[in-house]
């Protein structure tokens, strides 16, 4: 083992621990913020102000009984949450956290993230199919139809960013943004940003597009039959997905790690601040909006977002030719 691969393994470990910490405290932040928005207190028993709640949750879920009813297709049933988790989380490896820190500086990083987000549809549909339960099956059908519909809109909206930067490398996209007069793509690409945010909500199955797990009609959608720690794996996958989508939004539209001025000592400072803003937005939306109806959801995806992002792509190309 030479020094270089040791360095890579160490930095992968750092990124992983950072991500795990954020996932754990994102669940806490979500409960706390929603509680405040609904004039409740939220978790406040475990540790001061409930700060140890995520750890208590993990310990509790690990001790829960693991129920696998005899009808399931066991290998697939066991694999599905792991597929979901790995596909949702590993996109983080391509995000430039800092000018000198990007774990995997791949030329097609953005493409890879899109591919991983499509693969996570497998976790959903396999879990629904293997569970051998009606709610799971219906939830999985809905989820996969929703994920593939919104994926087109998302990739088209990211394509207009690629068009402006001329590269799929996320580091290059950040650098290309910094050389523009506004320093961010948010202003010239406001339409793409809007399309991206809506489809990111739908891709991660969050409110108002949480149709697959609509608890009032489908119990819990595709993970109805999962209990204990397997349920926690799906939960982790969802929160990792939120973090990856926020990181992607920050990198592609908000200038990534760059900030108005340097903060000495904390290299990730601006990146983290921007990510927190997006995560707060996710939680805020969840506390505010009611759920969509399924036909409205599919209609919005196919009849509004896809034509809009396609048009935006052509207009971007045209303007780029003129200047």
């Amino acid at each position: 083992m030479d020094f270089n691969s040791l360095y890579i393994i160490l930095s992968a470990l750092v990124l992983f621990l950072l991500a795990m910490f954020h996932v754990a405290y994102l669940t806490y932040a979500e409960r706390k913020i929603i509680a405040r928005m609904q004039q409740r207190l939220g978790p406040n028993r475990v540790g001061p102000r409930g700060i140890l709640q995520p750890i208590a949750d993990v310990l509790k879920l690990i001790q829960k009984e693991d129920i696998i009813h005899p009808g399931v297709d066991k290998p697939v049933f066991v694999m599905a949450p792991l597929i979901s988790l790995v596909c949702a989380a590993s996109g983080l490896a391509f995000i430039p956290l800092w000018e000198n820190f990007v774990l995997s500086n791949l030329n097609v990083g953005l493409l890879f993230i899109l591919a991983l987000s499509s693969l996570s549809a497998y976790g959903v549909i396999l879990s629904g199919w293997a569970s051998n339960s009606r709610y799971s099956f219906l939830g999985a059908l809905r989820a996969s139809a929703q994920v593939i519909s919104y994926e087109i809109a998302m990739s088209l909206s990211l394509l207009s960013v690629v068009l402006m930067a001329g590269s799929f490398n996320l580091q290059d996209i950040v650098k290309a943004q910094l050389s523009t007069p506004y320093k961010v793509y948010l202003i010239p690409q406001i339409v793409a940003f809007f399309v991206f945010m809506v489809s990111a909500l739908a891709e991660t199955n969050r409110v108002p597009f949480d149709l697959p797990e609509a608890e009032t009609e489908l119990v819990a959608g595709y993970f109805t039959e999962y209990s204990g720690i397997r349920f926690a794996l799906f939960y982790l996958a969802e929160y990792f997905g939120m973090i990856v989508m926020s990181a992607l939004a920050v990198t592609c539209f908000l200038g990534g790690y760059a900030g108005p001025f340097e903060i000495p000592g904390i290299p990730f400072f601006w990146f983290l601040i921007k990510i927190y803003a997006f995560l707060f937005f996710y939680i805020w939306v969840r506390a505010t909006l009611p759920r969509y109806r399924y036909d409205q959801l599919m209609g919005l995806g196919w009849k509004v977002l896809i034509p809009l992002s396609l048009l935006n792509l052509l207009v971007t190309a045209f303007i780029k030719l003129l200047i």
Binding site: E65, H69, G71, L82, L85, F137, A145, G228, F318, L321
Partner: protein, 117 residues
């Protein structure tokens, strides 16, 4: 390998935490199996019949249209990267491509493939 190696390490770490949580669950969890616990959840009713219920053909239609659009997006990927060199030629080409695709899209719409009732 090269740039893909760190990604594989990271993916493996994520996989590892998943597996270790499952193993921890295996060791620490209580095990009290009971016949009532081991039936699929259907709001307290006894599940009846086959669970692989017939579903709407609409889902297949969406998958088909998705395939068309996804392949189209795959064509646009390389175009977006080399757009600067292609200049007006590339723009006109992609305009023709998108207009053709849009015609197909409008046809699918008029045939009711995008109607969810």
């Amino acid at each position: 390998m090269g740039y893909l190696f760190p990604f594989l390490i990271f993916a493996f770490l994520v996989f590892l935490i998943g597996i270790s949580m499952l193993i921890g669950n295996k060791i620490l969890s209580i095990k009290r199996p009971h016949g009532e616990k081991l039936i699929p959840y259907e709001c307290g009713m006894d599940p009846s019949g086959d669970t692989k219920v017939p579903f709407k053909i609409k889902f297949y239609l969406i998958a088909l249209i998705f395939l068309v659009f996804d392949v189209e997006v795959v064509f646009i990927y390389p175009w977006a990267v080399v757009f600067k060199e292609l200049s007006w030629f590339g723009f006109v080409e992609i305009l023709i491509f998108v207009v053709l695709l849009f015609a197909a899209y409008l046809y699918a719409w008029s045939e009711g493939a995008l109607q969810w009732e």
